[in-house]
Amino acid sequence: MRIKSLIAATLAMAAVAAIAAPAARADDIEETAAVCSACHGEAGVPVDKSIPAIWGQNEGYLYLQLRDFKVGNRKNVNMSEIAAGMEKPVMKALAAYFSAKPWPNLQEPSAPHDVAVHAENINNSAGCKGCHLENWQGDSVTPRVGGQGIQYLRETMAQFRSGERANNPWMAALLKTYTDADIDALARYLAGY
């Protein structure tokens, strides 16, 4: 993990230099996106399981996350630095670029029946599909969570619950009412969906 973090940090520094300049034209976006791919994957499969898939992710969500990294509402050692110098047109162009890519198959296993039942019961109580929609695809500013990486899902939900991730207070408040076992069931169910 430490080696991976070092690699990521190095890439992040290189990315800052690449992204600091305006890059709203199509050619430039390709170039900028290549920097993103160093971590999020050349073919959309992230290089590390704690990094989310962003190919095929919803455009509004991607844009708002970049915005939140830039203004500090969401914090990540690499992404905060990368987004710090980004202007709105670049964020929007990157969001459009990656949302148009096909969603990758992360090869996550389907959850066993008892885990699926556990997760569905949580959905019935919390109303997750009210925002993430029927097939967990989300829309616009709500992320697709079906088929996302299990480790990223588990860590992200834990971060919402602990307050470490603070750019969606509703998710934080909701997840505070759930246990580690609940989060694990949700992560396994959603990743394998």
């Binding site: 509004g60 844009y63 969001a95 109303g127 009210g130 029927e134 500013v141 207070p169 509703w170 009412t177």
Partner: protein, 565 residues
């Protein structure tokens, strides 16, 4: 009523030759009021007596959802059968109120598609897809509840907070205007209302810290004419300690006053969305609508005061948008038991028994409130249509159980009325929930509930179809359904009410007794308000079956029209 139905039949016989299937083809049309090629203000004004068309989201400007044709009635409704089924391109939450004018039907779907259909055959005339921007911020599904028609235009409000005018005959966009900034949590799911050249629109966003409004736009150009902010700059009110029914809401007024003095008025992010259409009283040229919850929903600590005009019925002047009167049901709401079901204008008995112009609203509390139209004052409230327990316990970190749950006893679902019986018909939810509070700073356009509400998985949920005598407040009859109800209801002169259930049942009940007379399994949740109309002398009842995101009812993509032979 008999006289009217006869007129409708005669009119139908001379009406309507619908042009064929080709896209963008013009539609020849006629109605009982003559050869109307456009939707005139006169036609709109007369909609309550129009047995051919269904011109408004809730039938007419009074929003009675009472259709005056009785060709389909208690004697023959058992023979009701599908006349046609139209499948939309979008299989998701369907809340549209079909609008029918001169034999052409306009329906919408999730993600802001609009279809024009031949109302007799279900044939598609045109299909419009809104190209949504990257940011659409909505809490409760990608819904759209329908269009408004006026002149030769069709009006659509979109998830990314735009108002769009379409050519009624071709579906081509005529103009588009920005209503508000979606990045700050504004979005549109309601159908617009058009009166005297003004397109009226509220906004969603009470879950995102918006400052709510009703706006009027010029119907021809889209230019903004006026804005009524549903949150005044002085929102503190009278520090009410009891709700509209006199129950203590357990407010800490001293603490609130101290917070108000320290932090100032919270009006800029106080919410107050307007989810549903206003009703219109031509006699006074005023509109009546209800305002939704304060932001954040469950945490009152950051918004001291009564939070005017949240959880209120409000009346303003149509021409100027100036305030006329209001009545607040719940001051400083911390349960999201707000006001969303559209207002209805009917004559009512006041406390002395005199007949006065009234306003009805079905609250999420489970009461139907009866107001005097003159000054918005409350005349009475009905018996509770759903169980109420532990009201008004304050939300806690670990969750406090209270009934009704946060979807309320009546959600956005419009009620129907039958003024000849003095009856209002509502559909209800019973969803036991716990209310949790969690303090959080304003998150700039993200969901901001100040906590969470959760369904208690071990407790039974169900729904009701309820008839209330609005002149006495007594429940006349009630029919239990196996699931909580969201959608809407329609009453007709045929002595019927029509409504649908999340399990796919679409049904007709005797409006006087609640006896179930007919039902149909639509294959997906029927969570949309039905409409009725008449083409070539034949009455139809139409409803969308596409399920619902908010209560996770089975999705589908069907518009189904029924008739009797």
């Amino acid at each position: 009523m008999v006289k009217f139905a006869t007129r409708a039949l005669v009119a139908g016989a001379v009406a309507l030759a619908i042009a064929g299937a080709a896209q963008a083809q013009e539609v020849k049309s006629a109605t009982k009021y003559g050869n109307m090629n456009t939707v005139t203000q006169d036609l709109m004004n007369r909609s309550a007596d129009d047995g051919n068309n269904f011109l408004h989201t809730n039938g007419n400007y009074q929003q009675t959802r009472f259709y005056p044709n009785k060709q389909i009635n208690t004697a023959n409704v058992s023979k009701l059968h599908p006349a046609w089924v139209f499948q939309t391109e979008v299989k998701d939450s369907l809340e549209t109120s079909p609008i029918v004018v001169n034999g052409v039907m306009y329906v919408t779907t999730s993600f802001d598609h609009v279809y024009a259909l031949n109302a007799r055959t279900g044939e598609e005339l045109w299909h419009y897809k809104q190209k949504l921007g990257p940011v659409s911020t909505y809490c409760c599904g990608p819904n759209n509840r329908g269009v408004a028609v006026y002149g030769d235009m069709v009006y659509l409000a979109t998830l990314d907070a735009k108002l769009v005018a379409l050519n009624a005959k071709t579906g081509a966009q005529v103009w588009s205007t920005d209503v508000a900034d979606p990045e700050l949590g504004y979005s549109e799911t309601m159908a617009p209302t058009v009166i005297n050249g003004k397109v009226l629109l509220g906004t969603n966003g009470g879950e995102y810290g918006i400052r709510g409004f009703v706006k009027a736009f010029d119907a021809k150009s889209g230019k903004l004419l006026w804005t009524f902010n549903t949150i005044p700059e002085n929102s503190q009110g009278v520090w009410a300690t009891t709700d509209a029914t006199g129950r203590d809401m357990h407010r800490d007024i001293a603490a609130e006053k101290a917070a108000y003095a320290k932090n100032g008025d919270p009006y800029k992010t106080l919410g107050g969305g307007v989810w549903q259409n206003p009703s219109y009283d031509p006699a006074t040229n005023r509109i009546f609508f209800v305002v939704g919850n304060p932001s954040p929903d469950l945490d009152g600590a950051v918004r001291p005061g009564d939070n005017l005009y949240t959880d209120s019925m409000v009346s303003i002047d149509l021409d100027t948008g100036k305030y006329s009167c209001h009545f607040q049901y719940i001051a400083h709401d911390v349960w999201d038991l707000d006001a969303v079901s559209p207002t209805v204008l009917v004559d009512v008995k006041d406390a002395s028994g005199a007949t006065v112009p009234g306003v009805l609203h079905a609250g999420k509390t489970g009461h139907i409130y009866v107001h005097n139209r003159k000054d918005c004052s409350l005349i009475r409230f009905s018996e509770a249509m759903v169980p109420q327990e532990n009201m008004w316990v304050l939300p806690t970190k670990d969750g406090a159980r209270m009934l009704p749950g946060a979807n309320g006893g009546v959600e956005w679902s419009p009620i129907a009325t039958d003024p000849s019986q003095g009856m209002a018909y509502a559909i209800n939810l019973h969803q036991p929930m716990t209310y949790h509070v969690e303090n959080a700073a304003y998150p700039s356009g993200k969901l901001w509930l100040g906590g969470a509400f959760k369904v208690i998985p071990t407790e039974e949920q169900w729904g009701n179809i309820t008839a209330v005598n609005y002149n006495s407040g007594k429940i006349a009859w009630q029919v239990k359904t196996e699931q909580p109800m969201i959608g809407g209801i329609l009453a007709t002169a045929g002595g019927l009410v029509f409504t649908g259930e999340p399990n796919g049942t679409f049904e007709a009940l005797d409006s006087a007794t609640g006896a179930k007379l007919w039902s149909f399994q639509a294959g997906a949740g029927v969570n949309a308000p039905p409409s009725s109309y008449t083409v070539e002398g034949k009455q139809y009842v139409v409803v969308g079956a596409g399920g619902n995101a908010q209560i996770d009812a089975k999705r589908g993509n069907a518009i189904i029209s029924f008739t009797v032979d």
